[in-house]
Symmetry: C2
Subunit: 254 residues, 2 copies
DNA sequence: CGTCTTTTTGACCATTTTCAATCAGTGTGG
DNA sequence: CCACACTGATTGAAAATGGTCAAAAAGACG
């Protein structure tokens, strides 16, 4: 279990906010020059996280807020017997560490799934954001509400859907987020999870997750191999999982 | 399924913010006079909701933000087959309808469990709050983060705990919130749920929930009868459920 | 090529669900 | 005050979904 300090590389601003790659994606909203200036002042540097690295730890305070510039990570909690529940995955543009800025410690941990680049925002400047940039403060509320929505949806999955529906739903929902993030096309997306990750997110055992995936493959709904997920029959998968994508366009980020 | 318009009683401000009963509870933070003035300007009236009434509907836009002045309600989502997942319960001081102010529609519904009084805040004035009262804007972020924390905790319960632990955990966590809200004392609290509500929150069937409750009663951990829940052995229940209360004191509200 | 992680399968087991009644509590109208 | 209707609580039995265990196969990597 490597800690941030041990394995992370903190860098100065390699990617200037003025040239933020997220702004080119149609999913994200545009900034005004004033906003860009503030965010640029707010951002203190970048963090390169390597696969398996713990970015934020449950129970520990957090000094920073992060925005994902690239890569995948996931939020999770551990039970005392070692069981892990993955709460949500985090992709391009997602905000991490908000709990740390509002409470004295994080209620969950965050681990990098792939090599990731995160923008670092020191909390000392967060208050200035609220004071001087109500529009950005509102964006933070927006992002928090969106996170709530995703967890709500996840909770109904784990609580009320069958194993097959759960798997189907999570795959569809991640695929849909990948499309939004511009890293998926033609029904195909990079998909750097292991079956263990899926199982831990869905409240299932790996063994059963594996069997469900086999069935979905046999039914020619999906094809998942060596880090790539193919949605072979999106309509079928949507029907099965009752997934309906209402992800808002023009989403904010910081 | 009564709608808000049909059964609700919208009243002018019966309880002036200056004399808000929440401010007397040690769990809640104090307001500055400026803040009280603004909240008072923000609040447009009160809503009396009766048991079973739908306060907010999934998929519908919401015109208002609500704060609970008294009573119980719960957030839930329905599956197409009619199954219901209760996402969280809402008590004194909790904020309802934030999603409606950020997205064009609610991602979940809210139903009153008991007769409830809610403060009504029209969304048109929300932007003023962000502009003129960054401290209150921060409070909204705080409340959103707290909601996330509770759902996270709920999700790990549903995903990874046994039925017995789940029931024990939910009971402890609701009891703990009641203590905070000042409506519980001496291990005893009003508890206006049915076993169906518990089951729907925990992702269990009513039948099994009933059997688990019986076992908890037989082990003399709890005693629940006619709307009153007694925690007969708090230590035992905490141990069983792995519940640890870290609810922050001095919580904000609007 | 050898080691380590991840995936896959089969067999067996357990928790939880579903089904089907019955019972208890509450409110209503006569 | 009692019969009737409803909703919610309880129970037992049978069925099922998903879990655990164990082991082998397949990849990934130095």
């Amino acid at each position: 279990m490597r800690s941030v300090d041990a394995a992370a590389q903190v860098q100065p601003k390699v990617t200037p906010c003025q040239a933020c790659p997220l702004r080119n994606l149609k999913a994200f909203r545009q900034f005004t020059p004033t906003e860009v200036d503030f965010v640029s002042y707010f951002k203190s540097g970048e963090l390169i996280a390597h696969p398996g690295m713990t970015i934020l730890s449950e129970g520990a305070p957090s000094e920073h807020l992060y925005t994902i510039l690239s890569g995948w990570s996931f939020r999770y909690k551990l039970l005392s017997d070692g069981d892990r529940q993955i709460l949500n995955f985090a992709l391009l543009g997602d905000l991490l560490g908000l709990q740390g800025s509002v409470f004295d410690s994080m209620g969950h941990s965050v681990e990098a799934l792939t090599r990731s680049t995160l923008c670092i925002f020191p909390l000392q400047k967060l208050w200035t954001l609220y004071e001087k940039h109500p529009d950005l403060a509102f964006d933070i509320t927006w992002l928090a509400s969106r996170e709530e929505r995703i967890i709500d949806e996840h909770l109904i999955s784990v609580g009320r859907r069958s194993a097959t529906q759960r798997v189907a739903f999570l795959l569809m929902s991640l695929y849909s987020r990948c499309v939004q993030a511009g890293i998926a096309e033609g029904g195909q997306t990079v998909f750097p999870l292991t079956q263990q990750h899926l199982a831990d997110a869905l409240g299932l055992s790996v063994v059963h997750t594996n069997k469900v995936l086999r069935r979905l493959t046999d039914r020619e709904l999906i094809f998942w191999r060596s880090g790539t997920l193919q949605i072979r029959n999106e309509t079928g998968l949507r029907e099965l999982s009752l997934f309906s994508n209402e992800e808002p366009r023009n989403r904010p980020f910081i």
